[in-house]
Symmetry: C2
Subunit: 286 residues, 2 copies
């Protein structure tokens, strides 16, 4: 891998540029973004080498760090310009609505030579834009790779190697469907809950009255609404499913509290504790 193209030089794209340079500073990086300020900053910081869009045709790896719809648009408009046998990776937070469509586009553009692997780096910050990017945000994080019948084993191996080089410590192979179902709970619903939680009028008086739990509960309310609105709508079925389950579990608490049912409360709290203990055990073994 001598030349990498990074499309979208925001928090994630910028962090990948820095992580790649940290791994091997001889790899050339071309960035693609409409934000000239970010491109100029990245040039000055040597996170990238140029932003000459003509260089797309020379990139062995093209890493698309855009929102879902923009990812599809970029690939549709630029499929013909990709280098022969290039590795093409997107990092969208939803997969079902992206992966098969991109495969279809590549097929219809006669670009079956391109190794397309749809991935999801489970890393982020409560801020965005190139100016907040850091090589270290990927360190020891989870990296998800989605597999479809069209993807070659060799392409998956290349994506794995790329993730390891960027600092990820745990790589999971999944399907677009499984990815979207699990991520609806582990990421998207968490952002919805956090945003809903912090909107209580009481939260205005929370300062000085908090331990760790309120901070944890509301941390990710600080989000980029344009990206998350798009993710929620692209994964609506699984999110609504999880919201239904969550609200049913909340209702158990409501009835137990309203009914002064101490035994019921202890029993549902114990089930939550046992689940947390089970997951901690799985994470230790992982």
């Amino acid at each position: 891998m001598k030349q990498v193209g990074i499309v979208g030089l925001g928090l994630i794209g910028g962090s990948f540029a820095k992580a790649i340079k940290k791994f091997d500073s001889s790899i050339k990086i071309t960035a693609f973004d409409k934000d000239e300020k970010a491109l100029e900053s990245a040039l000055i910081e040597h996170s990238i080498d140029d932003y000459d869009s003509e260089n797309l045709k020379n990139c062995d790896l093209v890493l698309i760090c855009l929102y879902p719809q923009a990812t599809v648009d970029f690939i549709r408009n630029n499929a013909a310009k990709l280098k022969d046998d290039a590795l093409l990776i997107d990092i969208c937070g939803i997969k079902k609505g992206i992966v098969y469509y991109v495969e279809y586009i590549l097929g219809s553009e006669h670009r079956n030579d391109v190794d397309y692997v749809s991935c999801h780096p489970m890393a982020g910050r409560e801020c965005w834009g190139y100016e907040n990017s850091l090589a270290s945000i990927f360190k020891n994080k989870n990296f998800l790779i989605t597999k479809t019948p069209n993807i070659k084993e060799s392409a998956i191996e290349k994506a794995k190697e790329f993730a390891t080089n960027c600092g990820f410590s745990n790589i999971q192979i999944t399907t677009p469907e499984q990815h979207d179902k699990i991520i609806a709970l582990t990421s998207q619903l968490a952002h919805i809950v956090s945003s809903a939680y912090i909107k209580s009028p009481t939260a205005q008086y929370a300062s000085g009255f908090t331990g760790g739990s309120f901070a944890d509960m509301t941390r990710v309310a600080n989000l980029n609404e344009n990206m998350w609105a798009e993710l929620f709508l692209q994964n609506k079925e699984y999110i609504i499913e999880e919201l239904d389950i969550f609200e049913k579990n909340l209702e158990q608490f409501r009835y137990a509290i309203k009914g002064n049912d101490s035994n019921m409360l202890k029993s549902i709290l114990a089930k939550g504790r046992e689940r947390r203990e089970m997951l901690d055990q799985l994470d230790v073994e992982n």
Copy 2:
């Protein structure tokens, strides 16, 4: 303050013993607990000096680190044995149902000489018992002191000094009512949400599919169900109020997602982000 009594040598009581000894190792600590193993461990570790229940009458400060009902019971059974003019502090997570009742008990036992101040250290861990206690859990944490018309200023000053000596950096004076209303959101609802969240069947497959948000959302599901069930029932009105507000805010998301309403979604997400930014600003200024 030469002699302190700590009633209940669990996570919080044990941590107070260690924090007091760290501040001034010459302060004598008598512990009261039915768990002999904890008492013996604390003796060996020099966190306490004895567990002779006769010593209650010599304690300048009696710190009650029990659940709410047990706190009331202890004070009812031992009011007559307290030292003249002792400082009596409880650390229950709910206040309305405790503070006025304890004041009544002290009055009816003719112990108006006792300076009773009801406090709430906003600190904890996802584990419990003396064996998990640490002096450091109070460092730079919030400490709440509830004030009623019966409490003398001098008693509040003593409680403040005690909290500062134990490592707390931010002390808030509040009322039992305000405490319970705000804590319903900043602590109790967080534990309900966390416990409800982790019970999704999908959570069993979360390992390897998580970033920071799922861990944050479910951390406090690892709780002591006996204590939390009691807290929830003692603060049921405020908790149900917050649960109502929270579920209404969740419903906004449900309708916006089901209706494919991207603008609505962006708008409600932006409101959550702005609230988080406002609170961050308040915390910086605090």
